[in-house]
Symmetry: C2
Subunit: 247 residues, 2 copies
């Protein structure tokens, strides 16, 4: 939902978007099909978006994480708990970003105009994922810039870097209203759980689930995706986990 909200955000700012997704061997690979569906929906509405899915799944053997390793279990609990560190894929955002930067340089050469790179990283990830923190982006963008020709023609735009999941969702809701996009259609085509079944349904108990469920609740909306149990049930559980963490 972060990437999807970002997509809406960029469309709303009238960017021509070249979206990039990665198959990195994630168990929740279904997110790529969801992204495809949303992009088809938005193109059909006349918005200017292309989409490339890059298969780097062969690298998953190098990078141990419960997100990719079939023998590791995805942890359950509150999304900023220490145990969530199991879901870190070592250096993942650097890998994504290094491809993205190279892609943007290629786009710059092709179109001969300045290119804006953008990612949906947000503050909810700061505790567990150091590669979602602002100081990381400042530093890596600087590194890439001195490592490449023409990098003065790229800039980095991270609109959500200091926002939480609720604020992201609120931005997306406002944009949907503004652009006459169906919020529920869009967000039924997103996948947040790290542990979905093949239909994309989850128990609503992984850290990322909890964070999402509480964001919808705060926005005063029912999450349009299906969970294995009722919305009331997963919501009650998410609140319980949140309060247990805070006490």
């Amino acid at each position: 939902m972060d990437s999807t909200s970002l997509l809406l955000h960029l469309i709303n700012k009238k960017f021509n978007v070249h979206a990039l997704s990665f198959n990195y061997g994630q168990k929740h690979i279904l997110e790529l099909n969801k992204a495809k569906k949303n992009i088809a929906y938005l193109k059909n509405k006349g918005f200017d978006v292309s989409h490339t899915i890059v298969d780097i799944s062969d690298s998953s053997s190098l990078l141990d994480s419960s997100l990719t390793n079939k023998n590791s279990k995805i942890p359950q609990g509150y999304y900023i708990e220490e145990s969530m560190k199991d879901t870190v894929v070592p250096n993942r955002n650097s890998i994504f970003l290094s491809f993205l930067f190279g892609y943007c340089l290629t786009l710059y050469k092709k179109h001969n105009k300045k290119i804006t790179m953008s990612l949906g990283v947000h503050s909810g990830d700061h505790a567990i994922y150091p590669d979602c923190r602002p100081e990381f982006y400042d530093k890596i963008f600087e590194a890439f810039s001195i490592g490449n020709w023409d990098s003065e023609n790229l800039n980095l735009y991270l609109p959500y870097i200091n926002n939480n999941k609720y604020e992201i969702l609120k931005d997306a809701l406002n944009i949907c209203r503004n652009l006459k996009i169906n919020f529920n259609t869009i967000f039924s085509n997103t996948l947040t759980s790290y542990n979905p079944n093949i239909k994309g349904e989850s128990d609503g108990t992984t850290g990322s689930d909890i964070e999402r469920i509480l964001a919808f609740e705060k926005l005063g909306r029912k999450d349009p995706i299906n969970y294995k149990k009722s919305w009331e049930h997963v919501l009650k559980n998410a609140k319980k986990i949140e309060s247990e963490y805070n006490n």
Copy 2:
């Protein structure tokens, strides 16, 4: 030959080496088979080396370069000429390094000991490839370090960063003598040309060829690989190109 020399260098320093190669859609993909052969040869001699080849070739559509694009011709000439910039793969070393860093974090977790990352970058590439310069490595290692847990257990070792191709080769020759490794066998299993035929033979006219040929000449050795023409012919041509560039 840089990576191969590095491998010898690390073996000589008694590291247990986990070598990493990438299929990134390079036209000179044969280099991977050459690397495999050398590693098999070294293992057979009792040295501790494992080798992983990671296929990220699907990303080549994102990253335009004459090294990967079938419709672009590899430039010929002296290796520090402006025209060689066509052979830059945008952000390539960042991509390699980001996987390498993640892999080293995984190795650290598995073996619970400090890990040294190493690359065969050298000064001959500084003019054309900004991602081979020392300041780039300082900065990107710093970025990765703040973007990951446990990064204090990794360090970066670039023994050739201020050496040229001749000095690298000289190091390799000394090590081969020291460890009783056949220098010619090893270097017949390397590929330097950006434009080889399917047998790995080249005209000896791309920038990387010229740089290699002149390094062997300076060392006082005949290059053990086959070129499409005689060693005398490619050497004469390399010297001519060098002197044209310098005048």
